[in-house]
Amino acid sequence: MSKILIRGAKVLDGEPQDVLIDGETITEVGAALSATGARVIEADGQILLPGLVDLHTHLREPGREDSETVLTGTRAAAVGGYTSVHAMANTFPVADTAGVVEQVWRLGRESGYCDVQPVGAVTVGLEGKKLAELGAMHDSAAGVKVFSDDGKCVDDAVIMRRALEYVKAFDGLIAQHAQEPRLTEGAQMNEGIVSAELGLGGWPAVAEESIISRDVLLAAHVGSRVHICHLSTAGSVEIVRWAKSKGWNVTAEVTPHHLLLTDELVRSYNPVYKVNPPLRTEADVMALREALADGTIDCVATDHAPHPHEDKDCEWGAAAMGMVGLETALSVVQHTMVETGLLDWAQVADRMSFRPARIGRLTGQGRPVSAGEPANLTLVDSAYRGQVDPAGFASRSRNTPYQGRELPGRVTHTFLRGRATVVDGKLA
């Protein structure tokens, strides 16, 4: 049986409709569709979105399978409503060759829970010195379009310029982790009032903003497109806004945690809040929300960064940076953007599916919910309220900052090309 009828779903929060899936495709969207021969899912007014697309996920395989694997990571993605994730290149070995990106891509296909688009490293070993074989990664079965040394900044201006120029040959994209390395030596949290009090090394906003400034200028100069990962400061927003006003080809993402959490939380010295870029101030959070709402920031990306318990159950200075995010992203966006009136659900679909798919040049993802389109769908119970309980996470890691926090919304169903990967909130 391959027919599924989703009955009474608000498509992008519109009037309730029925959506018929046959095989891998949406065949009909309309009122009172026939259920003959179809498995019926009563949506009961839940919100139907296109399957979410993440431009920034760490799946940790190969190399750190104790944190996450392609299988566990894609299962977590499905639970979070994602049908496609970009797997970052900072694995062991680094995804800087056709061989590694093909391995990750194949593992993604075998997992069956979510499309996996490997991100290729920009430089060999993420060392920032020598370009990796960008063309070979593009030509491989993985068909890599997005390249990033994420976790590290491509700080050499010449290397960055060459990378931006080189990928124009195949419409590739350089995604930059903007962090001036000298300004962030020994940095452990946002530099400001709280870092001064806590005596923790400061990560100043200008370390992010100076790199973004340089990179948008470089991209404009060589006529390429650049994507800025995880914007975290109000100043970064201003620079991206300025670059866009010039008509330059720059896109940007923000993580859910930077839309909600501030550096005040670091007062607990609880390493669950240790993340890179660091949590910033309330004013930064408000600027980021505003920018996501007005489109200056194109999309939400999770920066899902799983770490095993022991890497966080220690003192702040020794703890690993990062937090998991796939399974809570939509809830945080509902909480910070929808319930504040900054975005409606159609705009959420834009920021979490359409636009990231377009930035990543994906063809079968981030498509409208209409007849003839691939059936990549996410059904959301937006009325749900509940406490986050990491014990139930599909991710192999539990390093969430939201443990015990009440967040709205729950993904009840996820469909990957017509196959249910999540049913009633549980992995299928």
């Binding site: 001064a196 009090e197 005596g199 400061g202 003192e315 702040w316």
Partner: protein
């Protein structure tokens, strides 16, 4: 008093005065033929030092021993503390050994806070210096020294006294703790340093900031010189040692411009010729050696109060060992 001493910022004025008063009682013990109290007999205090500091470790050790506690010193310095498990694992070991108090010195800011709040350990935690965060017992002994010279005696605070702290504020846990504690005690604090060694965000601290030492000397009741680490020079915090000494060092000429009653303080060890000249260091106005002595009294007071001391500490010399209170179990 709370169960732990992690930060001077946690101390109210009354907490601080209680500790200083208790330390006065402890100091009187030094005049007795037998410098030992039975107060903490049967209790175990562990010195857990992840960072080398012989001076501080010995001071805590002496304080614990004068109160008849069993002292275990654990030096984790030099071990490959790459992942941080060692703090947790060490804590679990100490817990299994029944430590009543753990004195921790750590290179990471927040490590004592983490030790006290993570549930790894049940006893009291005393911060003996964490990263560039705090060193509360140092601030307490500094305040104790100031009160002896500038204060009104037992029960008093430092209201209206003007304290100038000079040097590497950015990396100084001593400065952080002193700003909190001295302001709680009513003193007016001014920090003096080149702008590169003043933390961003200092505007929110209860103190003034000046880049000019000469302009504040004449109105200081105490001038505290901080140790400047020579490696700061390589990171371009200031151009040369010579220039630093010229602009921010305390020499005899500058000392002469301080009020007659004003004291010169230094947490030690001193870089003679850098932040302080030899003649100032050896002058009777410099309290550096006295601070070391006072450190033992302060740490005795802290142990006594944290580990359940409710009555005056010294009035009954033959008092039996205190029983473990519910709070510290």
């Amino acid at each position: 008093m709370k169960r732990h001493l992690i930060s001077a910022a946690d101390l109210t004025r009354d907490d601080a005065v209680l500790i200083l008063d208790t330390a006065e009682e402890m100091a009187r013990l030094a005049d007795r033929p037998i410098k030992k109290l039975p107060t903490l007999r049967g209790r175990t205090i562990v010195n857990l030092f992840f960072e080398d500091s012989t001076r501080t470790r010995i001071s805590f050790e002496a304080a614990a021993k004068r109160l008849s506690a069993d002292v275990i010193s654990f030096s984790a310095k030099g071990s490959s503390v790459s992942k941080g498990e060692s703090l947790k694992d060490t804590a679990l070991t100490l817990e299994a050994m029944g430590a009543d108090a753990v004195v921790i010195r750590h290179h990471d800011s927040g490590a004592p806070h983490r030790l006290a709040t993570s549930g790894w350990i049940g006893g009291s935690v005393v911060n003996a210096g964490d990263g560039t965060h705090e060193h509360p017992t140092q601030a307490l002994l500094d305040a104790f020294t100031m009160r002896r010279h500038l204060g009104q005696g037992t029960g008093s605070d430092l209201a209206g006294r003007r304290v100038t702290i000079v040097g590497d504020i950015l990396h100084s846990r001593v400065a952080r703790s002193n700003v909190h504690l001295l302001s709680a005690l009513g003193a007016d604090v001014t920090l003096v340093a080149p702008p590169t060694l003043v933390p961003i965000g200092v505007g929110h601290w209860p103190c003034e900031v000046s880049y000019d030492l000469d302009s504040v000397l004449a109105k200081s009741d105490a001038v505290m010189m901080l140790r400047v680490q020579r490696e700061r020079m390589n990171a371009a915090f200031f151009p040369t040692e010579r220039e630093y000494a010229r602009r921010y060092g305390l020499d005899g000429e500058r000392m002469a411009r301080m009020p007659e009653h004003a004291i010169v303080m230094h947490p030690g060890p001193m870089n003679r010729g850098m932040e302080i000249t030899a003649d100032v260091a050896d002058s009777p106005r410099c309290t550096a050696v006295e601070q070391v002595t006072n450190g033992v009294s302060i740490r005795m007071a802290v142990f006594y109060l944290l580990l359940g001391g409710a009555e005056p500490a010294v009035s009954e010399p033959a008092a039996p060992a205190l029983t473990r209170t519910e709070e510290s179990s």
